[in-house]
Amino acid sequence: MNTTGSKGIGKHPLIEMLGVTKVYGTGQAAMHALRGINLRIDQGEFVAVMGPSGSGKSTCMNILGCLDTPTAGAYLFEGISVGKLSRGQRALLRRHYLGFVFQGYNLLNRTSALENVELPLIYRAIPAGRRRSRALEAMEAVGLKGWETHTPSELSGGQQQRVAIARAMVTAPMVLLADEPTGNLDSVRSKEIMDLLTTFNQKQGITIVMVTHDPEIAVYAKRTIRFLDGVIDSEEQNGGVG
């Protein structure tokens, strides 16, 4: 197989991108956001994605997150070609296997932190009682015990970021996709969040793919992928901090 970043025998290839391209618009206005990405991420990996602005990181994350489909090439999730799935099937993939930490948090306004965290469990049809206790656990794990009833507007940027992480984690997803999860945090808060993600990765074996601009954050991951102009420019193994 012509994939990169193979971690050797025994690891299960969870995610594979084979010559993925993404073109926005057509003709003269065509914008080539991704120009042939080959990528393999195994189960349990912690991968950092770096690269200058506009290099295609978010586009790649959207495709990884089954929110978008490649213009050409194939994206295989657990061997399933996501591009061939229907809208509804992709929604079910997101529901059952993926957790998102969006760049802008995307919390529901006017809705309490706890209810925000409960949201993915509602779509998994978890009964109300179990839903509540799991959401409370997740809130506690991100250090927001006591802030459950506050709405996003009553929380600081860092707290909102942690609510977003709790919401992504509460389902114990197979893959966690985080687009600049520490983008708006100071270094102390950033370190806390990264320790949390490292714990999730190591204790629960959750695969993490994280976009960041900060090399100090990237070192928490075991592997760093660098994007440039819609292609993977380089790749390196880190020792990992944790």
Partner: protein, 403 residues
Amino acid sequence: MLWETVLLALREIRRNVMRSSLTVLGIVIGVAAVITMVTLGGGATAQVTSDIAKMGTNLLQVRPGQLHRGPGGTRSTANMFKVDDAEAIAREISGVAAVAPVASEMLQAIYGNANWSTTVTGSTNGFLQVRNWTLDSGRQFSEGELRAGKTVCILGSTVRKELFGAQDPLGTTVRLRNISFKVIGVLISKGQSSFGTDQDDFVLIPLRTLQRRIAGNIDVSRIYISAQDGISTNKVQEDIERLMRERRRISLGKDDDFHVRDMEELVSTLTGTTRVLTALLGAVAAVSLIVGGIGIMNIMLVSVTERTREIGTRLAIGALERDVLMQFLVEAVVLSSFGGLFGILLGLASAAAGARFLAVPFVLNIGIVVIAFLFSAAVGVVFGYFPARQAARLDPIEALRHE
């Protein structure tokens, strides 16, 4: 899951109480209008029916002249009846319970300083029977009074009230065209008829007295006949027509110069009319419901635009199109059902007030209440569907990028 969605919708509605109330105002008014119209219409129908029952449904009326349909009524160029005609009907026609020959004049009734313009009806005790009149106090005419044409009278309750106030009129005398009439009875009030006339505004005196002392002729302007219970008024009507043609010597092929009217016919015409009216008003009100639905659709579309990011988030997290569709549809239905509920309460209240004002009975029609509620919920489904589909079809990435 549906229950969750309903709770979610309730919360969403509560968040914006002011806008939600304005949104459903159209539905509230529409439903209230439907309920008011139909309830009042039902009350009016019940009123007409009971009025006519009071009048006696087995009542027939014979009048001279041909019947001209529509307003204007009869032209009495034809010969008046005589008392003999009434007696012949009583004698020769089977199934007749009572017969009352009637003649009347508009006169001034005077008692002391009080005077009152009223109808003076000359008839027999049969009149009380066929028109279902009951004595409040006093007595009917005696045979002697009727035969001799005595100056005695029985008062309708309006005349009694206008002339005597709280005083007991029995035994006193009332002056009609300078003749003193002794009051021997007072009738129980029937109130207004559905046609808006005061049924209690008359004085009853013996027919012979009216003919001799007031009218100065021996004419009878109409004859009331009540059929016995269980006897078809149609059959009696035909018999009367045959008898009268014979008595008035109308040769074969010539038109009647009199006509017989059946009250039952009148009932069905009148209730039919009020029913058509009710249906029409109801239809007008239903149109306002549709307008209310468009109001809901409008606000739901605004809401979808405002909540694009929320929808994007839900879709990204794993909501299916169906989930988002349901969310917005349930919200529209909950909204419109609330509107329906408030409309029903408002409609019943205004119908109750209207019924009092128009002096018709308040007849609660559970059927229309249920229909109005279901209709308002249906309005939510129909007019909520388009915005809900709009929301469900959003592209998650586009929606998340939306500002």
